[in-house]
Structures are given as structure tokens and as C-alpha cells.
């Protein structure tokens, strides 16, 4: 696998997880986004990277184009993580309004609400 891509993926996962460890809700969302990017890149690149040969075909299939399958998967993944992140943001909004806090450590007793 490509060194530079691997570094990127590992970097995204590492920083994403580190953000999840923080107490701030905003950092949590940032962490989710980072991990999402890392995962998308991972799926995208395991299919084999190919520069500047997008998968557009005519009547006859060209011999070498980029693998369309991981691309389709990642496209779906991007939109789903979009939905997930927006939902998390609205959770943040709710927590902010109800508890006046974005401290995750204060969100551990939902039952007492």
C-alpha cells in the first residue's frame, strides 16, 4: 500500500480517536468526521489507486479504468456519514440546550433528566 496514503489513514484514525477521548462534544464530532475520512480513504484505496483514469466507458470497455466498486461504496458511505454527523450535531444542540454544557462527562446520567 502507498506510504503516503497509509500515513494519512493512520493519521486520521489516530487523531480522530484522540479527539473522541476529549471531554468536549465539539471534539467528539470532529473525531467522528476524522475517523469517517480515514475509513473512506481506506476503502477507496484498497481497490487499488489509479491516477486520472476514471471509470467512464463507451460501447467497448476500456482495458484499464479505476475500480468502480469501492467508489460506489465510498459514495454511499460519504452520504451516510453526512447523515450521521448532522444527527450528532443536532444531539449537541439538544445537549447544549438542556444541560447548558458541552461536557461529555456531564452527559453520563441521562436517567436523571
Amino acid at each position: 500500500m502507498e506510504l503516503i496514503i497509509s500515513l494519512l489513514i493512520a493519521g486520521f484514525f489516530g487523531t480522530g480517536v484522540y479527539c473522541l477521548f476529549q471531554r468536549s462534544f465539539i471534539k467528539l464530532i470532529a473525531g467522528l468526521i476524522l475517523i469517517g475520512q480515514g475509513a473512506n480513504l481506506l476503502v477507496f484505496s484498497v481497490g487499488g489507486l489509479m491516477s486520472l483514469k476514471p471509470a467512464f466507458v463507451g460501447k467497448e470497455a476500456p482495458p484499464m479504468v479505476a475500480d468502480p466498486l469501492p467508489q460506489a461504496l465510498v459514495l454511499t458511505a460519504i452520504v451516510i456519514s453526512f447523515g450521521l454527523i448532522i444527527f450528532t450535531i443536532s444531539l449537541l444542540l439538544k445537549a447544549q440546550r438542556e444541560l447548558k454544557s458541552d461536557d461529555l462527562n456531564q452527559l453520563n446520567t441521562t436517567d436523571t433528566l
Binding site: 503516503i4 500515513l7 484514525f13 489516530g14 468536549s24 467528539l28 481497490g47 460519504i78 439538544k94 461529555l104
Partner: protein, 766 residues
């Protein structure tokens, strides 16, 4: 046809009952579906049963496993079905008076009807699993009914107790039934009966028997599980009358009847049932003697009679089975009647305390008559059906080699007699000698209540006389029931008077002992009922289990995201490293066939710096900008590596996220949420090692070609068959449209989630 008709008439109640609120004058009509179903069941079922024709119906369910919805009308099921629907109709009519004006009355009717459907299903199912499903349904509905007054904590507690005990027994029974079908090689009762010798000779037989009987004993309140039944009396009286005396507790009895030809006849069966039945008879009677509450006394005698029936099934002779069915029918008639009477008295006077109720016949003449008739049947005096049942009970017991049994039976019957006097005679006919200020002198609603409340017990009590005087009215049905349990049985005639014989002498003796017990029973009553040890064990056990889970939850669910994350990540890193490092080694070799352009390298470096910047920065704006940079960078990578669609989507999504994120967090006041340095470095170590693990794994994975054949096929088929040049899009909307469909659903659900969260906020503001 037969089953479909019966069930659909019963089901029509679910349409009818909700209308009650609109036509409150005709509320007694709630009993109509039950009554109609009763007559349909009787007039369609009886001719074919009599002629020996078997009504069956099978719906396929899991044909590959031999499990089907098999319905069959047997003699025993017929009797049970008639009891359920006949008494059910009377109970419904009674309930329409009893529940008048209660806000939850519709709920009660619907639950009672659901129960009726389940119970009739139980009576006519011929498949072990179908039987189990109906069995559990009755437990669940009983739970809802016992907990009907759910505002009260005791009510909820008792409902849970009844559910846990009968449900626990049900689970044991399920295991037993599965083993039974495994050994017997079939799921239907009829086939299992044919293979009975396989089962009784099998090594698993004792286990099967124990498990199945656990189910029956818990349901029918046999010792030592009897304690739930008195506690279940907190339910509204129609429920006590219907479920906890006439029908549901008979489900366990029914199971034992049905199992007689399959599991019965062995020494183990006989000993277990006879012993348990006798103990239950005495324990229930003793409980009844110590009580002052009318309902509790009746609960005690119900337990006694259930023990009696279990005992008779245990004997298993022709006479005993006949006697068992007679006792069951007689008990259902008089006990339901007595319960309804108690409910009426309770409503009229506001008390159920036996010592406060005297001379009620003046105010409630109809109820008093019904109570008297039912009580005499319960005492086992001629010419009531209870007398016949008791005579045949003694007839069945006399040939037994064990003398102590007869003593136990006489004692048990004497207790039942004493309690019958106490419940049905004293409150109505005794004079208030002490002239104390008791509840019966309270002039507050002293007269008869709604007519429906006295008619139903009256009808049942009259039936007890009618069947006693003319037993041949129902003897044919009783005989088919006996026949369905023991096909080779001699069918003894059922007569009211069979001359002076040993059973009659025992009966006279019983009456004498009963009267003696009655006169001494005042001293047996306890002020406070101590908890029976069954309840104590149950409560301790429940407490221990709850405590265990509370402790476990407290340890496992700390509520801190950091803890969960740390556990998950450490476990992941440790497990993957432990498995993969020895086989793959740590060294990462690097080979590339990709030309790296400076643009890509610069982009990657900028993205990595941004990622680290997000970790460090305290400013929320900086985080958002950095996230935007990363999103754009990823889009650039997509674009460079031949994925224009991805690049465009990524850019659009990224910009939308940034806008919405900024929208929300612009209001958030920054907090100083710093983590202690030591803890933070610990998190840093975990994150770094996780990152390292990912890096190693990604480097080690040599271009996993996801599925070359599929990808190749997609590229080839895209234009000729998908009519599109953009393979990615053709994949999304055609080849893999199912995924995309699911994804659109996910987005919609997320939208609903956002909507609901936001809606709450908006409405709270205004």
C-alpha cells in the same frame, strides 16, 4: 371452518368493545361475542365429537421442520373450551356492571377477550409449540390483568411475581416440550400419544417429566409455587373469578390431562402428582383457614381444589380421571359464582373482611341466593354437582392401597366445606350477635348493585343445581373428555344417588369434620398473615439477581465515553497485535507502482497538520476550518485518483457540514474542558498505538482487489446493459440499487431524528 368461526367470533369483540363508550346503556353487550362463540363451539363441535369424527385443521408454519399450526378438537379440549367461553360470557356481562364508570373498562374487556382467545387456542391446539405460545400468552395477559391497578406498587409487584413464576415454569416447560418432541419424534400430541412407549422408556424421561410438570405446577399453583395465586387476587374481581379460579389455573391441569397418555402411567408420574396434589390440598386449605379476607379464603380453596385434581390425575385410573373432570367442572361453576358474589359484596359494602359482614341477605337477596346455592355445591351436599364430584372422588380414592390418602382427602374436603360455610353462609345469613358498628350496618349503598352483577353468579349457581339433579345433561361430554384421555376407559355412569356405600359414609364423616372445623375456625384466623417461606425465597432470589445485575451494570456502564473507548481500543490493539505480529512480523516493506506528484504530497502534509491542529486547538472556529481543509484535501485525492463523483460529493458534503456545524456551535460558549496531563498522555498513548496498528495493517495489505470479477463485470456491462457511461452512477442506481435504497432510508431516518430533537427544543421555547 369450525376453528375459524370460533376465533373470528371471539375476534369480533375487538371491534365491538371499543364502541362501548358510545353506547353505554348497552354495555352488557360486551358479553355477546363470547356467548355467540360459546354456542357456535357447542353446536358445531358437539355433533361431530359425538359421532366420533375428528375436527382438525392444519396451517403450514415451518413445514421443513415439521412444525405446523395444528388445531384439533378433543373431548377434553371441548370441555375446557366450553368452560372458557361459557363462564367467559357470564364474566363479561358481570364485568360490564362491575367496571361501570371505570376509565379503564375498555382495556379490561379487551384483555379478557385476548385471554379468551389464548385459552381457547390452548384448548384446541394439537402442536407442542402452538400450545406453548398460547400458554405463554395467557401468562402475559394474566400479568397485565393482575397489574391492572398499576397505580399501586403492590399490584405491580404481585403481577411481576405471578409472571416470573408462571413464566419461569413456562420456560422449563418449553425445554421439556422440545426434549419431548425430540424423543417422541413428533410435534403433535396425537403422534406423541402413539409413540408414548418411546418416551416413557427413554433415559431422558425423568427430565422431560420434571420440566413439563414444572410448567404445569407453576401455572396451576401447586405446592411449592402456590404462593403467587393469593397475591394475584389484587386484580379486579372479574379477573380473579375468571383467570385465577375458573380458567387460567386450569391450563396446568389441562396440560397434565393431555400429558397423561404421553407421560403418564409410570411410578414417577403417580408418586409426583399424588404427593404434590395432597400437599397442595392441605397447604391451600390451611392458608384459607387462616384468612379473614373473602377473596383470600377463596384463593386458598382454589389451591386446594387444584391440588385435588392433580392428585386424581396422578392416580390415573378410569374412575380417577372421571372424578378429576367432574371436580374441574363443578369447581369452575361454583368458584366463579362465589368470586363474583364476593366482588358484588365488596362493591356494596366496601369490605371483604369476613368478621365485618353479617346479615346481608336483607339487602342483597339475589346475590345471597346465588351464594347459598354455589356454597352448597362447594360443600359437596346433595343434590349439587359438587356432591357428585366428591362422591366420585372418594370412589376413585378408595381402591388405593395407601390409607393415609383417604384421611388426607377427608381432611381436605372438610376444610373446603368449613370455608364454604364461612364464605357463602355467614356474611348473608348469620345474625350480627355482637351488634357492633360493622360495615354491614353502614347504610351506604346497601342494596343490590347493577342487575348484571347478580345474574351471572346466579346463572352459574343454578347450573350447579341443574347438573347435580340431572347429571346426564353433561355426562356425555364428560365421557368424551375421559375417552380422549384414556381411550380404553370404562365409562362409568354418573349418578346422583348410588345407594349407601363407602363413599357416602366418607362424605358424612367429611361433613361432620367440616362442621367441627368451621366452629373452631375463628381461633385459626390470624391478624397478620406472615409471609410464607415460598414468598421469602422468591423475594430473596429476585433481590439477589437484581443486585447482581445492578452491580455489573455499574462496573460495565460507567457512563464515561473515555472508559468505553479505552477498553475497546486496548482490546482491539492487543488482540490484533497478538494474533498478527507473530505471523506477519513488524517490518513493513514498501513498494509502490504509483507515481507520486508533489501536489499529492503537499496536500497530504497539509491534511496531517490540520488533523493534529484539531487535536491541539482550543478554538472551535479553528477546528471547523481545519476540518474543512481536510475535507477539501480528501476531495482532491479522490479527484486525482480517478473518482470525480466522489470528489464532487465530498466537496458538497463538506461544505454543508461546515455550514451547519458553524450554525450550531456559534452559540456555544467555550468551556475549559482540559484533561489532567497524566490522563491525557495515557489517552495519547492509546491513540498512538491504535494509529500505529492501523498504519501497519494498511501497509501490510497488498492491494486487496475487492472483487475483480465483479468490478470487471460492472465495467463491461455498464454501457450495454445499464445504458450509462458513468460506471459509478450505474452501480449506484442499477447494479447495487438495494444498497442505495437502504442508504436513502438511513438519511430519512436521520432527518426524522433531527426533526424530533429540534422540535422538542422549539416547543420548549414557546
Amino acid at each position: 371452518m369450525f376453528f375459524a368461526l370460533t376465533f373470528s367470533i371471539l375476534a369480533s369483540a375487538f371491534l365491538l368493545v371499543p364502541l362501548i363508550k358510545k353506547f353505554s346503556g348497552a354495555r352488557v353487550l360486551v358479553s355477546l361475542p363470547a356467548g355467540l362463540a360459546f354456542f357456535a363451539f357447542l353446536f358445531m363441535g358437539w355433533p361431530s365429537l359425538r359421532s366420533g369424527e375428528v375436527i382438525t385443521h392444519t396451517l403450514e408454519w415451518f413445514p421443513s421442520m415439521g412444525i405446523n399450526l395444528d388445531f384439533q378438537l378433543t373431548g377434553m379440549g371441548f370441555v375446557l373450551g366450553l368452560l372458557v367461553m361459557g363462564i367467559g360470557a357470564l364474566i363479561m356481562s358481570y364485568a360490564s356492571g362491575y367496571m361501570k364508570g371505570d376509565a379503564k373498562e375498555t382495556r379490561l374487556y379487551l384483555l379478557l377477550y385476548s385471554f379468551m382467545v389464548a385459552m381457547v387456542g390452548l384448548a384446541v391446539s394439537n402442536n407442542l409449540l402452538l400450545f406453548f405460545i398460547f400458554w405463554e400468552l395467557t401468562s402475559i395477559i394474566s400479568y397485565l390483568l393482575v397489574g391492572f391497578k398499576h397505580e399501586y406498587e403492590t399490584s405491580r409487584k404481585n403481577a411481576l411475581q405471578a409472571l416470573l413464576i408462571t413464566g419461569g415454569g413456562g420456560i422449563a416447560m418449553l425445554i421439556g416440550l422440545v426434549m419431548l418432541s425430540h424423543v417422541g419424534g413428533a410435534w403433535t400430541f396425537t403422534e406423541l400419544t402413539a409413540n408414548a412407549h418411546l418416551i416413557t422408556e427413554s433415559a431422558l424421561y425423568p427430565y422431560i417429566l420434571t420440566l413439563v410438570l414444572l410448567g404445569a405446577f407453576t401455572k396451576s399453583a401447586q405446592f411449592p409455587f402456590h404462593f403467587w395465586l393469593p397475591n394475584a387476587m389484587g386484580a379486579p374481581t372479574p379477573v380473579s373469578a375468571y383467570l385465577h379460579s375458573a380458567t387460567m389455573v386450569k391450563a396446568g391441569i389441562f396440560l397434565m390431562f393431555v400429558m397423561t397418555p404421553i407421560l403418564g402411567g409410570t411410578e414417577l408420574w403417580k408418586t409426583t402428582l399424588i404427593t404434590t396434589g395432597s400437599i397442595t390440598l392441605l397447604v391451600g386449605g390451611w392458608f384459607g383457614l387462616t384468612q379473614k379476607d373473602l377473596k383470600a379464603i377463596l384463593a386458598g380453596t382454589t389451591i386446594s381444589v387444584l391440588g385435588l385434581i392433580t392428585f386424581l390425575i396422578g392416580i390415573g385410573s378410569d374412575k380417577a380421571i372421571l372424578a378429576a373432570i367432574l371436580v374441574m367442572v363443578a369447581h369452575a361453576l361454583y368458584k366463579a359464582s362465589l368470586f363474583m358474589m364476593v366482588g358484588a359484596v365488596d362493591l356494596a359494602t366496601g369490605t371483604r373482611n369476613i368478621n365485618e359482614l353479617r346479615g346481608l341477605k336483607k339487602w342483597m337477596p339475589l346475590t345471597a341466593t346465588a351464594a347459598l346455592l354455589a356454597g352448597l355445591s362447594k360443600m359437596g351436599l346433595p343434590p349439587f354437582y359438587g356432591f357428585i364430584a366428591k362422591e366420585y372422588l372418594y370412589k376413585a380414592a378408595i381402591p388405593l392401597p395407601m390409607e393415609w390418602i383417604q384421611a388426607v382427602l377427608v381432611l381436605g374436603n372438610a376444610i373446603i366445606l368449613a370455608l364454604a360455610i364461612k364464605v357463602s353462609i355467614i356474611p348473608f345469613f348469620a345474625k350480627d350477635k355482637e351488634k357492633q358498628e360493622s360495615a354491614s350496618d353502614n347504610p351506604l349503598h346497601k342494596n343490590e348493585l347493577d342487575w348484571t352483577m347478580s345474574v351471572s353468579p346466579f346463572v352459574l349457581a343454578i347450573l350447579g343445581v341443574l347438573f347435580g339433579a340431572f347429571p346426564n345433561l353433561i355426562t356425555p361430554m364428560v365421557h368424551t373428555a375421559v375417552h380422549s384421555i384414556t381411550p380404553e376407559a370404562n365409562l362409568y355412569a354418573v349418578k346422583l344417588w348410588s345407594g349407601v356405600n363407602w363413599p357416602l359414609i366418607l362424605s358424612i364423616f367429611t361433613v361432620g369434620l367440616g362442621l367441627a372445623l368451621f366452629f373452631s375456625s375463628r381461633w385459626l384466623e390470624k391478624k397478620e398473615t406472615p409471609k410464607s417461606w415460598g414468598v421469602v425465597i422468591y423475594e430473596r432470589l429476585l433481590e439477589a439477581v437484581l443486585c447482581l445485575f445492578k452491580k455489573t451494570t455499574r462496573v460495565v456502564q460507567s457512563g464515561y465515553l473515555q472508559n468505553y473507548l479505552a477498553v475497546i481500543l486496548i482490546a482491539t490493539v492487543a488482540l490484533v497485535a497478538w494474533k498478527s505480529i507473530p505471523t506477519m512480523g513488524l517490518w513493513v516493506s514498501y513498494e509502490s507502482n504509483l507515481t507520486l506528484t508533489p501536489i499529492i504530497i503537499i496536500t497530504a502534509v497539509i491534511m496531517l497538520i490540520s488533523a493534529f491542529w484539531i487535536c491541539i486547538t482550543k478554538s472551535k472556529l479553528n477546528s471547523i476550518i481545519a476540518l474543512g481543509v481536510i475535507g477539501a484535501g480528501v476531495a482532491l485525492l479522490f479527484a486525482y485518483y480517478s473518482a470525480p463523483d466522489l470528489a464532487i460529493t465530498q466537496l458538497l458534503v463538506e461544505s454543508l457540514i461546515v455550514v451547519m456545524f458553524a450554525w450550531v456551535i456559534k452559540d456555544i460558549k467555550p468551556h475549559n474542558l482540559s484533561t489532567p496531563l497524566l490522563l491525557n498522555s495515557w489517552y495519547l498513548i492509546i491513540s498512538a498505538s491504535f494509529s500505529l496498528l492501523i498504519f501497519t495493517l494498511v501497509m501490510k495489505s497488498k492491494l486487496v482487489n475487492l472483487a475483480p470479477a465483479i468490478s470487471q463485470k460492472m465495467v463491461e456491462m455498464s454501457y450495454p446493459e445499464g445504458f450509462g457511461s458513468n460506471v459509478v452512477n450505474v452501480t449506484l442506481v442499477d447494479f447495487r440499487a438495494l444498497d442505495t435504497w437502504g442508504e436513502a432510508t438511513v438519511i430519512s431516518i436521520a432527518a426524522i431524528g433531527v426533526w424530533i430533537l429540534g422540535k422538542n427544543l422549539i416547543s420548549k421555547k414557546s
